[in-house]
């Protein structure tokens, strides 16, 4: 299985990088882009595991390492 982990700053946490990107886009004329939030994307290769096991393992490593729970949250997708 493959687990995709998306890590993003919590909504309550200001994103300086996203803010800078938004400003650049506005300068480029993309006024329609109201806001940008930057995050991180991980693909975990998890051979020989069920979807359920893969999700549990991905959640464990996301919590311990991939995300910092003080400022970030994560979302997991599991596919074949």
């Amino acid at each position: 299985m493959t687990a995709r982990v998306f890590v993003t700053l919590k909504p309550s946490v200001f994103d300086p990088q996203g803010h800078t990107i938004t400003e650049a886009l506005h300068q480029m004329g993309y006024a329609g882009v109201e806001d940008v939030r930057q995050g991180k994307y991980f693909e975990l290769a998890l051979p020989g595991r069920s979807a359920e096991e893969s999700r549990a393992l991905a959640a464990e490593v996301a919590h311990k390492l991939l995300a910092n729970p003080v400022i970030e949250s994560y979302r997991i997708e599991v596919t074949e």
């Binding site: 309550s12 946490v13 200001f14 994103d15 300086p16 390492l65 910092n68 003080v70 400022i71």
Partner: protein, 231 residues
Amino acid sequence: MKFAIVVFPGSNCDHDAYHAAKHVLGQDAVFVWHKETDLHGADVVILPGGFAHGDYLRTGAIARFSPVMGAVQSFASAGGPLIGICNGFQVLLEAGLLPGAMLRNTDMYRCQFVHVRVEQTDTPFTNLCAPGQVLKIPIAHGEGNYFADPEALEELERNRQVIFRYVSPAGEVTKEGNPNGSLRNIAGICNRARNVVGLMPHPERACESPLGSADGKIVLDSVVHSLIARV
């Protein structure tokens, strides 16, 4: 008195810390590679600045799992004086030895002198300072924007754990004096037991006047003084 300076792959202020401890203060100092599991009987431990593991993933996120961190945790739990400077502070946050987290600076990487006010003097690293003393010390970081949720911030203030704040040269907490967007101008904090300190500015780079300031020396002098007082 022996200082242990932990060296992670990517640390680059380890020699500054060594120089300050060994040559400026005249104390014993040793480097401890991050794969080692003991601290050579050190009396003080410094996690220095730099870019441990290239700052990959998040600053300090990989370093906190280095083998040496077990010994560092034990040293801190036993009440030993432990200071994390810049990247070392980020490692302490990721390791949960200090509360909160670092975000990117609100605007950009900043490398400059700043002024910090000593808010608390009852820690091993500030005990020689006068309350409210303003120190001119350099910073060099892109991720020093201190964050903690409102409850954690209140707890920090209630327990007097904010020990350094960015201020104007006159010692006032101002927006202009804050180089990175840190909440409440926080530049350094300590743990509940007060023996673990983290700060973004570099006192070890400001221990001799030819470097532009010798104000940082009092931080290291303080820890030597605290250990002598303890003996």
